[in-house]
Structure formats: structure tokens, C-alpha cells
Amino acid sequence: MKQNNMLAMILAGGRGSRLHDLTNKVAKPAVAYGGKYKIIDFPLSNCANSGIDVVGVLTQYESVLLNSYVAGGGSWGLDARDSGVFVLPPREKADANLDVYRGTADAISQNIDFVDNYNPDYMLILSGDHIYKMNYAKMLQAHKENGADATIAVIEVPMKEASRFGIMNTDPETGRIVEFEEKPAEPKSNLASMGIYIFNWKLLRKLLVADMKNEESNHDFGKDIIPTLLNDGKRLFAYKFKGYWKDVGTIDSLWEANMDLLDKKNGLDLDDRTWTIYTEDVPTLPQYISAEADIKRAFITQGCVVEGEVKNSVLFTGAKVGAGAKVIDSVLMPGAVVEAGAVVTRALVADQVKIGSQAVVGSADSEHIELVAKNVKG
């Protein structure tokens, strides 16, 4: 809290049901991405790099793995005396019944006591399932310069896709938000909300207390809190983000986000030493590439053993490709094994799944990426 008096809360309760079997046992923020990361590493690393010391992680759906993953915060350096990562699942309290988080705003409301311990000036609300690099300190600076009550990060999306997003209509000169429309049929702007908000905590606290008692409310930031602020004539500003940003909602988009990393000048640039994305450290050998291996355009991490052909693919921690096997346009998640002679094309092989010797999965001309979540016999 010493650095900028801003506390961050990451909404990490989402199931991500369109990721099917990948999120059967883990919440979407705990899904693996980019060889060695989990999606939640991105907001957590952004916090660490932006000088935010205290982060609450609001969990709900299948949170055991996520809890053990983020607890302590050491992986992101957030374990100094005045900092910490706190896992906040719904809990029973003396004056309230145990209740699931009814919406994004309710998740914060139920943890007002936690926030009060720190008494921050500003509250940063983040989503746990987006992939991007962003300096929240700069956003806070803009928030202060605008004398804003709330600032919402927005990204320009293609106009034809704008109706899929929450759209901010702004004063083009000042960036002040005049209107918010959730998934408008006829969008007036292409500035999509990224689900990243900075609020003045005192104001937000008041609104949340009122919202908790409002039986009509969905207890949601987009549906309730932001419209209330606009109705009350508060100063809301859009903060334009330029750069790589991806909400990986589906198997296709998760695959695509991994494939993006193969481009030499990809927008995410995980090799950027000024903005490192931190993750859990795993003791493994470095990657071993055998004499028969053939690797072209690939992103491969520690613990992998490659004895076959890997083209245009991303291999996560400990993935193995046997002799004569082919992995083309695919993603092998942590510990996935492609045995000798097997062929994997346009597929996403889930954690620890084994593709038996000589088996064939996926196809080059499939419309969608094949998710392989169970062992395939050879």
C-alpha cells in the first residue's frame, strides 16, 4: 500500500464454461497459457510491475487449485512485509449468512471488511482471465489528472464486432464517458470496456453498501454500478489501452492466443525484460531436443523433450513429443505426451493427456480446433 495507495481486486471466480473440459476442475484464470504461464499470471504480474502491493483474488468456482497457486504471492514478488496476495472466497460472517458471490460487485461488497483493513484511496478492479500487459500506475495517473470518480480501461475493437462488448460512448475531446451500453445492437463507438476499473474507494464503498440492499440489482459492475455512477452525474473517464489484449473465452481463441506467440513481432512480447510476466517456478530439466528432432516456428519451455517434428506449435512445461511423432499447428498443455509416430494437427491437448503411439488426432482442414482432454489409445 505504501507505493500508491491503490488496492487491486482480481475477479477470478468465473468458470469459463466455453472452455469445456479444460475448466472441469479448475477456474478459467488457472488455465495454462503460453508455455509456462497461467492466465492469472498476467493481472498478477501487471500488479507487481505497476507497484501495487496488495492484491485480493476473488475466487468461487473450483477454487482449490487457484487458491494454492496464488496464495502467498511469492511467485510474483508480492510477499514483502507490506504486500500480499489474499485469496477471498465467499465466507460466513458473524452478521451475514454464507452466500455465493451474486455478481462482480457483490464479490467486492462481501469483502469490504478486508479492504477497510487497508483503507486505500483507490480501488483497482481486474478480471482474472485476460491476457495483456498493462501499467496500472499510468492508468491511475490519468485517473488523478482527470479528477475522475471512476476510470474504465477501454480498447478499440473493430466496429463490426462492437456489439459483442460493453461499449463506452465518450466525449472525443476529454475522454469523459457520456453513456455506457452493454452489447448494443447498433453501437455508436468501438471503445470496448476491458473490465478494468479504478474507483475512488470511498465513493465505491458507499455505492456497494447501497447495492447490497437493493433487491432489484444484479450486483454487477457493468449492469449496476457504472450506470448508477453515470445517472448520478459522476465523472467517469475512459482510459484508452493500446496493445495486445485477449479474452480467451473459447478453445479456438485460447489456441489462437497461443499461436499469436509464434510471430516474431507478436504484440504480447513475453521476452520484454522491462515487463516480465512472473509465474510459478517448477523444478524441471531444461528442454531437450534430440538428434532426430525437427523444430520450426515453435515456442517451447523447460521440461519438454522433443524427439519428433514440431511445427507451428506451443509446448507447455514438461510436454513430450516422441520419435517420429508430428505436432503441427497445435498446443500441448503441461505434461501432455505425444508418443512415437502419433500425429497431432490443429489440436489443443489438455494437461497430462497422452496421445498413444501412431494415433492421429485433429485435422488440417477442421473448422474448429480439436480439444483432446482424454488419453487417446495408440
Binding site: K36, K264, D281, I289, I295, T301, L315
Partner: protein, 371 residues
């Protein structure tokens, strides 16, 4: 609760790794692209349940201190256990008074105070894996005063020339510790690894000081072979002392053979190291990598064969790197052809297009050098 206090020792004066050791001590040498040499003895101890470890540091401590830090990455309870670095007063090279005994004596009060009953001493300059808890049990069961770990080799004529060997009788009693002079093929090479009761260790430190101010622990134990019950225990698995540049190069190359990797690593015996948070390695369209260990954070566009590539190294298109140990953050420029070299950290090779050496005498490119 571990019975033994772990001690990681430094190398003796006669050991010198040309080039690399000018920048850091052997325990801090990069190993297999991802590790440092010291990760092996510390992980061996940690995996054996030894959670109080002293790492003795004689010279050039910077790199080692940076790597070990708080020691959290070694999976040791940070309250009931500790990983402590103990520094020699003098850091001069070739200071013959600056022996292990001298530093042990200076820090004897720490050991006296520790509740541990035994000490396990392992070198910070040799690579092997060993369950020290099992070794300690063997030692206790044998009722010997001192147990020494050795590795039987049959090419002691050509290698291990900086090492000592154990002269063993049929009952594995140690009759002498002597320098391997390369005259005999088969030798029981001493792994500079000791197990004994703490009191025995303290007595030996005092006895060594009395005997000679240049004495090492090895010297005094050799003197005591007649008086004490000193036994050898054979080590199984991969073993490599790092005692000169060729030795460092050879052990790295040896581990490109999967058989040796199997002998050194196992899934239930993790080797811990400090993470650098580098991203995975990027192989581009023109990359051609065979028979190599590659660390994370590299960007590869050239040809790499039979190499160890350290973290964050960049290999440009047209470059050919063969039989090399390349440390971290090195740049190998377009069309550079390099073979049989150890390339130290941060080196940039761009202008010299052909850098070749004979594998029997590997070359060395200096740290931070621009070539």
C-alpha cells in the same frame, strides 16, 4: 528433524578453471543451461531432509550470493531450517593459509551451538546426486568414525587428475587419501564428501590446526587413517568433478547423452534452482536444433548441434553452433560458425565468423566480450 548439519565446501587451491573462474567460484558456474553447480549439493541435502545448510564461500562471492539469496528456492523451511553463506576472511587466490579448516575453525561456535548430531560435508564443485540420509544411516550402522564417499572409475589415467583417490582395504577401510597421479587406470576417486559425528568433526578441526596452519580437512583425515575407523562408501550414478575448463566442457557434453541424464536426474529427486522468469524459447522458421539442452528465454534462428544453450541466448540466422557450452545472454550473430567452445555470459560474437577449436582442448570466449 534432520540429524545432520549440511556443509558445502569450497575447492582447494590447486583447482582452477581457466577463464570462467576469474569471474565466479565453481559453485556458481552455470550448469546445463539452467542450473548452477551448487544446486546439486544443496538439492541433495534438501531432498535428504537436511534443512540446516552452511555454504562456505572463499572467493568471488558475488555471483553465488546472487544465486543463493535467501535460499527459498531450495525447498527448506525458512524458520526451523536455514541456508547460510559463510565467507572466508581472505579472498585471495592461491592463498595457502586460506584453507577449509581455517574457515571451519572461525565458525566453529555456530556448529557447536547447532542441535545437530552429525555433519555431512559435500563439495560445491562436483556434480552428482546422492541421498545423504541413506548415507548417514549407512555411516551410523557401520559405527565408523568417518565415512567418505567415492566413485570407482576406470579411466583415472586421463581424467580426475585434480582429484584424490581412496586407498581402500578389502573391508572398505580407508588406508590413505592421495592425489590421483594418473598412473593407474582404476581408482576409487574421492568425492570430497564426508559424514561424521559433529564432535569428531570439531576434534578434527582442532587437530588439523595443531598439526599445520596449511592443513585441510583431507590432510588431517589422511593422517588419522591409522587411529580412526574411516570407511569408504561407493557412489552409484553420474559423477563429475569440475576442476578445469576441459572438465567443465566434458561433463556438459557427457550430459547430451540421455543415458547419463538418466543416471543424474530422477523425478523423485528434483534439482532446485533460482528461477529467472524468462519466457519459453522461441524457435523461428530457420532454426535447426539437434541433440541439445536449451534453457528458456532463447531466440533461435540458426543451427545448433550438440550444445548446451543458457538462458536468454540469441542465435541469429546462418549461425552454426556445434559442440559448444553457451552460457546465458550470449549473442551469436549472423553466419558465425563456432565449434568446441565454452562461451561465457553476455559475450557477443558478431564479427569473427569462424571460431573453431579442437574438442580435446576446448576454446573459451570471455564473459562480456565482444568478438
Amino acid at each position: 528433524m534432520a540429524r545432520a548439519l549440511g556443509i558445502i565446501s569450497f575447492s582447494e587451491n590447486h583447482i582452477w578453471v581457466e577463464g570462467m573462474e576469474a569471474y565466479r567460484s565453481i559453485p556458481a558456474f552455470s550448469f546445463l543451461g539452467r542450473y548452477r553447480v551448487v544446486d546439486f549439493p544443496i538439492s541433495n541435502m534438501s531432498n535428504s531432509g537436511i534443512d540446516r545448510i552452511q555454504v562456505y564461500v572463499r572467493r568471488k562471492p558475488c555471483s553465488l550470493v546472487e544465486h543463493i539469496g535467501t535460499g527459498r528456492h531450495y525447498n527448506i523451511n525458512s524458520k526451523s531450517g536455514y541456508l547460510q553463506m559463510v565467507f572466508a576472511d581472505s579472498q585471495e587466490d592461491k592463498d595457502h593459509y586460506n584453507t577449509d579448516i581455517k574457515v571451519y575453525a572461525e565458525n566453529l561456535d555456530r556448529m557447536v551451538k547447532a542441535s545437530n548430531t552429525h555433519v555431512v560435508i559435500a563439495p560445491g564443485y562436483m556434480v552428482y546426486t546422492q541421498d545423504f540420509d541413506a548415507l548417514l544411516q549407512t555411516h551410523i550402522d557401520s559405527e565408523a568414525d568417518v565415512t567418505l564417499l567415492y566413485h570407482k572409475v576406470d579411466y583415472a589415467k586421463e581424467a580426475y587428475l585434480s582429484c584424490d583417490y581412496l586407498d581402500l582395504n578389502k573391508q572398505k577401510g580407508v588406508q590413505a587419501i592421495a592425489r590421483n597421479n594418473g598412473t593407474t587406470k582404476t581408482r576409487n576417486i574421492f568425492m570430497d564428501t564426508y559424514v561424521m559425528k559433529k564432535e569428531v568433526f570439531i576434534d578434527l578441526v582442532h587437530a588439523a590446526q595443531k598439526a599445520s596452519s596449511m592443513y585441510t580437512l583431507k590432510n588431517i583425515i589422511n593422517d588419522m587413517c591409522g587411529e580412526l575407523d574411516i570407511r569408504g562408501v561407493a557412489h552409484k550414478g553420474f559423477f563429475a568433478p569440475i576442476d578445469d575448463l576441459k572438465g567443465y566442457y566434458d561433463v556438459s557434453m557427457a550430459l547430451l547423452d540421455p543415458k547419463n541424464v538418466k543416471n543424474l536426474f530422477s523425478d523423485n529427486w528434483p534439482i532446485y534452482t533460482r528461477t529467472s522468469d524468462s519466457c519459453p524459447t522461441q524457435y523461428y522458421e530457420t532454426a535447426n536444433v539437434k541433440s541439445s539442452f536449451v534453457a528458456n528465454g532463447c531466440r533461435i534462428e540458426g543451427t545448433v548441434e550438440n550444445c548446451i544453450i543458457g538462458r536468454g541466448t540469441v542465435i541469429k540466422p546462418g549461425a552454426v553452433v556445434k559442440n559448444c557450452v553457451v552460457l546465458g545472454d550470449v549473442l551469436i550473430g549472423n553466419d558465425v560458425h563456432i565449434e568446441n567452445h565454452v562461451v561465457d555470459r553476455y559475450a557477443k560474437i558478431t564479427r569473427m565468423k569462424e571460431i573453431l577449436a579442437d574438442p580435446s582442448k576446448p576454446g573459451y570466449v570471455k564473459r562480456n566480450d565482444t568478438v
